[in-house]
Amino acid sequence: MRRRMMMTAVAATGLLALTACTGGGGDDGGEEGRGDITIWYSNNAAEIAWGEQMVEAWNAEHPDEQIKAQEIPAGASSEEVIGAAITAGNAPCLVYNTSPAAVPQFQKQGGLVNLSEFDDGDGYITERSGDVADQYRSADGDFYQMPWKSNPVMIFYNKAMFAQAGLDPENPPLATYDEFLETARTLVSSGASQFAINPAPTSEFFQSWFDFYPLYAAQSDGTLLVEDGAATFDDENGTAVAEFWATLYSEGLAGKEQYQGDAFADGVSAMSIVGPWAISVYGDDVDWGAVPVPTQDGTAPEETYTFSDAKNIGMFTACENQATAWDVLKFSTSEEQDGVWLEETGQMPLRQNLTDAYAEYFEANPAYQQFGDQAARTVEVPNVPNSIEIWQTFRDGYSNSVIFGEEPVADFLTDAATEIDELAQG
């Protein structure tokens, strides 16, 4: 009996080993591989339109290296879908919707191709994006993501509501915290709007990218949340930003409850923090203006930083034809394709000298000009281990202290910084 069990075990082990061999590849793909590839792109209409024309243009010229494209599968978030695909080994070659915050995790999973290992990898990325590209380097100094596009966030405001509140809609006083707060009080007390501004007060890890972080980037002249492996925000800049938001919440100028819908579009709030994608969304429905995010003492627009809200392109290790994928990646981020991208979506390619490269576009679409200028001064989420856990830790503390006022701001900043210091060590 024992002998039979041993033989069965040996046979099973052999079968497993055989399966592992056949499943593991052993083909001649990898970085040198050429042939058909699959890509995923975002599922909003403008990005799909861009993706379809890009694929068509490539496929027409490359009959032996065709792109099969599809929208990213539905899920709670694209990060979860991509993470699952990496684990399952069925990730596509390229994903045009890779969140920089998830890159350290994907890298740890062994899911991302090191783009710096292509002969012209580093050179192509830095030449296209300039100094901004450095924010997207991983801890080992290499690129595991292609910096692609950003949505530098600014303050959108409703001119009609400002006029109703007796404020100058063309030059709204929103540059300093004091001005912003006074304007917010006027908007609410006059009855022009229920809330002055209404960022989502919910607990998801990414929500701080649209309230605290843009203002912190501006207040600190472009400092990341974590630099050199340590939290940066437990200082006078972080305190000023957190106190500013705490005042808005405590005075009821910002809502503590999640609004079901778009508070700005529905006229519930007079201001919103959004990127240039909003221009086509609000379009003619709202008579809007846009200004840079405020700082404590006011900063000139041409010097003001903000959060990038970028999405990048990841190449995944499950890809067999990585040489083709790299060529497609360069093709889709070429000056020509970036121009089509700008036309189709209004989002900013992460390209240096953007406004000069597409001067005609910005001349014809002046609403986008200030976003084009702003794109040169953006900060990204830090590319550090435990990135998402770091943001969740920050959000939990922020929610407790700033939104609901249950802990002094100073304690929140110190406690969160201590925890984040530890998490950033990996």
């Binding site: 684990t87 062994g110 007060p201 079901q260 939990d396 407790n400």
Partner: protein, 315 residues
Amino acid sequence: MTTVAAPPSTTTEPEETPPSRRRKRWLGEHPLGLLLSTPYLLFIGLIFAYPIVFSVWMSFQDYFFAAPGAVVERPFVGFDNYVAIVQDPAVWRSFGNVGIFLLINVPLTVGLSLLLATALDRVVHARTFFRVSYYVPYVTASVAVVAVWLFLFSQNGLVNQLLGPLEPEPSWLVNSALAMPTIALFVTWKGLGFYILLYLAALQNVGKELYESASVDGAGAVRKFFSVTVPGVRPATVLVFLLATITGANLFTEPYLLTGGGGPNGASTSPVLLMYQKGIEQGNPDVASALGVILIIFVLIISWVQYRFLGGRES
């Protein structure tokens, strides 16, 4: 002194079992039954047993999901993940939250479903309409009915408009003290139809003669309810207690949708929601597994206590 003769010793060799009896012992009296139940056993093994065993194993490793073929280290870390869980205040808070939830949800579920089932059992006209009315929320997707509750309990919602100056500040779903009770009410309302059905089935087994005897003895409606109905449906009550507890301990969708990911300030974060955050969002399935194992133990203990003290064994 009495001596007892020892029984004669049996030193004979055991008889060799014939092959047909050996096969019968392995396959049971009815081999066809084994064959028919094999798909289900495989299903249970693959879908439940394997993931649970794998999850327990994962909770003792430094484990994360990796691409096939990726060379990664997942060393054995003993109880490190459990220590991390025990030291995390958010975990304690989530168990506290679910404790509050169970304290409200379970008694309400048991009480209301028994009362409503008893009433529905006696309804003569429009019986189907009433039964379907209570059952509809149960079969409707949480995502759909959550919108109704958001409409009711948001700051500008119908409930606050009715309450006027009595509305809570901050409002229901962003109030640390009221968020979890509001969720408990929602889950009670949503699940009631299922538990009413259980009780309706149980009520069919309570003998009519018992009610008649009670009537003859002069018992009123309340007396009959407590002396005949309640003891008569005790097995169903034990089941409802257990199911409500197990379902409640696995709370996820409602806090996720009603309070935007466990707000306000973590006051509605459940252990399962925390597992989702740690395991899926943050890429720490090892810690999430440890939390899952602790949750299973927590549920088993509560269920055992309920079973023991509600008389499940006797019933």
